[in-house]
Symmetry: C2
Subunit: 340 residues, 2 copies
Amino acid sequence: MSQHPMNGPAIVSTEEPSANGGCVIGVDIGGSNLRLALADMSGKVLARKATSTRGIREAHRILSLIREGVEELLLKTALPSSALRGIGAGAPGVTDVNSGVVIATSYLMGWRNVPLRDLLEETFRVPAAIDNDVNAAALGESWTGAASGNSDFVFLAIGTGVGAGIILNGLPFQGKSWSAGEIGYMLVPGLSSNRPERDKPGPLEDLIGGEGIQNQWKKQWSSEKTTLPSELTATQIFDHAISGDALAAAILQKTADVLAAAIHNISLVLNTPLFVLGGTVGMHPALRDATLAVLASWNYRSIPRLEFSSLGSDAQIVGAIRMALDAAHSPRAAALFQNK
Amino acid sequence: MSQHPMNGPAIVSTEEPSANGGCVIGVDIGGSNLRLALADMSGKVLARKATSTRGIREAHRILSLIREGVEELLLKTALPSSALRGIGAGAPGVTDVNSGVVIATSYLMGWRNVPLRDLLEETFRVPAAIDNDVNAAALGESWTGAASGNSDFVFLAIGTGVGAGIILNGLPFQGKSWSAGEIGYMLVPGLSSNRPERDKPGPLEDLIGGEGIQNQWKKQWSSEKTTLPSELTATQIFDHAISGDALAAAILQKTADVLAAAIHNISLVLNTPLFVLGGTVGMHPALRDATLAVLASWNYRSIPRLEFSSLGSDAQIVGAIRMALDAAHSPRAAALFQNK
């Protein structure tokens, strides 16, 4: 597990950028985009790069994209490759942090037991660290984001899928077999299915993930119920809920009921007072307001605080930078690359 | 948090009992019984005592009972009071382990902010340690019980109430405000109420706790449905389910469906591969078999193992002995009681 102070330096600074002391790379490997950032040793981002990964799935091709991106970032910042001190990456799947292996990603990516850390270290000859993307985002929020200063919280990513990154006592908690927080399969009242099955979307994700919400809309849509089109995104549906569309409001309410139950269940188990909401669906204000209203209506002892991610789509890459800095300062670093 | 080896000494031994090196006391404070055990410094129990607490609620009266019990145990083992090295107690409520305060017990006991550790230390002039009773039981199972050798597991106590004691990385995990594992309020499909409310039994407990199961039976009972009486205990109902009573079987199935969902949800959050079942309801073989069948029917990636508590009703007191031993060996011990 990464050791890190809870209050790290801000990544946006007015100081003159400089990487005389070296630099690190943060990588966010996503299903549709690969994002890279080069930061100095205080974590300040000096340059960024994003590239599409649509249609690109194989680990070696992703690795080539990362190498090209890093070269571009070094050129852009006029830094020699010898300035590179570490690299951190968030991967979209169950990740063994100790051995540096991506055990499994979703069917979209199809990775099985990819030794991503070793591949990164062989490619760049610097120490690397990897973690699951949601855990990386949680780490980012705990370092410089919405959870800065909070030792115990849960980062909830609600986009196409639904997942949780857990921070306990200031450190990422990944679980015995690296899948803690896989809450897309959670069972709460009001789901369409009460059977979690492998190789299918989880019942919770299937209802309150972005696609799930779109599907609810499509299923319930009729020209009598609404004047809106039958194809809308989750965030469009929530926008229309605020504007007064009754069908959209019903779907928002249903989503909030189910999300409130999931948050409540997680907070019972972990006793975490703070939830940071991320992802395009999770960051919609209408969803947070409606979910808080459900939680408040129960008159239960303790209501968790729900805060929006302050790093937004940067949360993962900021966490990856933190991991890269930790890797650069780790005892492994000196041992591994003496000959560099 | 207590530091303890995962494989402690067995508490039952054929060796000659001896407490030349000192002794400790483990206390299990329950709603109907107070149980005490005197153990030597290897954790071997040398004498026991149980006494009723029916009608006795005030902390000072419980403390008097503990003092009388300890005196009796010392007499019984022919040990001087100077042999006493530490005392550990499991309390039936939310317990701040660091400050040694029982923050709140259920309405049955009515304690609020009772500084139990200080009271025990003032009474006995030895270092004391306290924790929630279910956490104490989990600690007992991890030390010498069914979870011995497992660094990550959940102890599920299902008796009158429902609660979980969580062990992560070999240590009790109590949560930010000492209420991790309060799963009686969890929301899963199939409950009678989907609203967790303070000062009411939790929705999960209300269905699958001992009283909840009795109430299900009473509500659904009619002379057409069964030849059995309308008043049965939870374990009697499960016994009759095995013997072929259809109504009893339906209630067993419902309980198993709900328990399976709760176990599944906890294991998603914590990624714990093992659940140890305790409490009179939790240890009924029919419930475990039915719950395992539900979990297996889902075809989900990973099915948690369900093991019965091997310490049974001793789990809490064994955990309390472990806490007493840890307290006796803690740095606080020397500092606190130099003048003894």
